[in-house]
Symmetry: C2
Amino acid sequence: MPPLTAQQLSLNTATLGPGASLRDAVRGCLKYGFGGIAPWRDKLAEVGLAPACRLIRDAGLQVSGLCRGGMFPAADRAAREKNRADNLRAIEEAAALEAACLVLVVGGLPAGSKDLIGARQQVEEGIAEMLAPARAAGVRLAIEPLHPMYAGDRACVNTLAQALALCERLGPEVGIAADVYHTWWDPDVIPQLQRACRAQRLLAFHLSDWLVPTQHLLTDRGMMGDGVIDLPRLCQSVADAGYRGLYEVEIFSADHWWRQPVDVTLSTLLQRLPMLNSKEDHNENR
Amino acid sequence: MPPLTAQQLSLNTATLGPGASLRDAVRGCLKYGFGGIAPWRDKLAEVGLAPACRLIRDAGLQVSGLCRGGMFPAADRAAREKNRADNLRAIEEAAALEAACLVLVVGGLPAGSKDLIGARQQVEEGIAEMLAPARAAGVRLAIEPLHPMYAGDRACVNTLAQALALCERLGPEVGIAADVYHTWWDPDVIPQLQRACRAQRLLAFHLSDWLVPTQHLLTDRGMMGDGVIDLPRLCQSVADAGYRGLYEVEIFSADHWWRQPVDVTLSTLLQRLPMLNSKEDHNENR
């Protein structure tokens, strides 16, 4: 695998923290030569969809994914309908952005429920309802399995194998967004990533690192190289299996990176590129 | 499944917090009619092994498990040797206590390492070295898969399927300790628990609950009924599959239960017994 270049990176807007605007993120991508961007919908809403699309297109950036649709399990029909309408809007936004995929964070247990099986059923039904509109809009849906520590409140799809089984039942419109933070621990991570690539279902690949110790379940992700994930091994495995999409950097780091100037975060990020596929670094760390 | 009785419960000493002694735990078990106890080794050390054995035997308590051996992956031979010697002592202590099993928390990545595959190899080699001494002492070893959020620093065995595959490679001396807190999210939790029961490898079953939101990765476990785990479903599934061991309560709760008087914790715990296998509660929570 040749060393990754900035052109192969996509900047997920969450990496710059809630304070940064879409304009800040686009400016950063241009300054540091990123090939793509992955906006969160709240950042689009701040500027409006059409201006956001212009901003990104004028910068020549690919959209590696739109974050996010999903949140399917609901306690009642009204909430389910509200989710469905929001997911249809998300499909339209992804189409307008020509995004490589709409990332689906599927949701956890409805309030007061302990029925994980029922929640997973609602997820499958919810995605099934999105297939026709997604197909019509030319948008691919990327199920993102989240770390099992989010099973209760954010996503009841928690492994690559579970997400890929869902994809196979649902059809070709659906694939996965694989995030090393959520999946690195999985004894099957490599074969499942390769299975996704072979099936043309690896629609997005997200990078960050797992810090030891982790201080907060949501906002203590690390910069690549600062944690314990064997990133060269994971990056190599998807490259070898034929993944040709962008490598999206998504770092939720309230106490550290979100407090840094954009220039510090993005320049550090580029400095870490070599270690993403350097066997030396890998071996040093054994 | 008939309602669980206090006699079917075992009190893991960690549930009372670091401030409680083995004597406090035994006293609590007697007062509330618990059938068993699961001591941590530091609590044994405080009173000495022989007095601890007498204390527990005189109270007529079964030992559902000794916590803990393991921590196999090491950065160098010296550390590995130190672990091995400590694990041999743990086997002797488990034998003296006539414990149903010695719980193995297998350990995560050695300092500076990102090689999860290598760590898992060290775990298998480390357990293999314990087989003969365990057999000689009549002690069964219970691999406890920990939640994936502990893969980096505490246990690189993170699913029931992974632990059971290890057991099958290692032999009849080895089984698993299944903890609902670590495994409830797993799409395969029920079939894997049943597989463990059928193979006579379910050596311990631990109870607590997963709180939403969880504030701390280590010490924010909930009392049964206060979280989102479908406990009736999990308890029923092991009972149906033939599990006849004790139901061990292990709640790490620094900010709440560890601050309560022992009587409050233990009486609350008994009040929650009915919900552990009441379908009503289960359905209410759907």
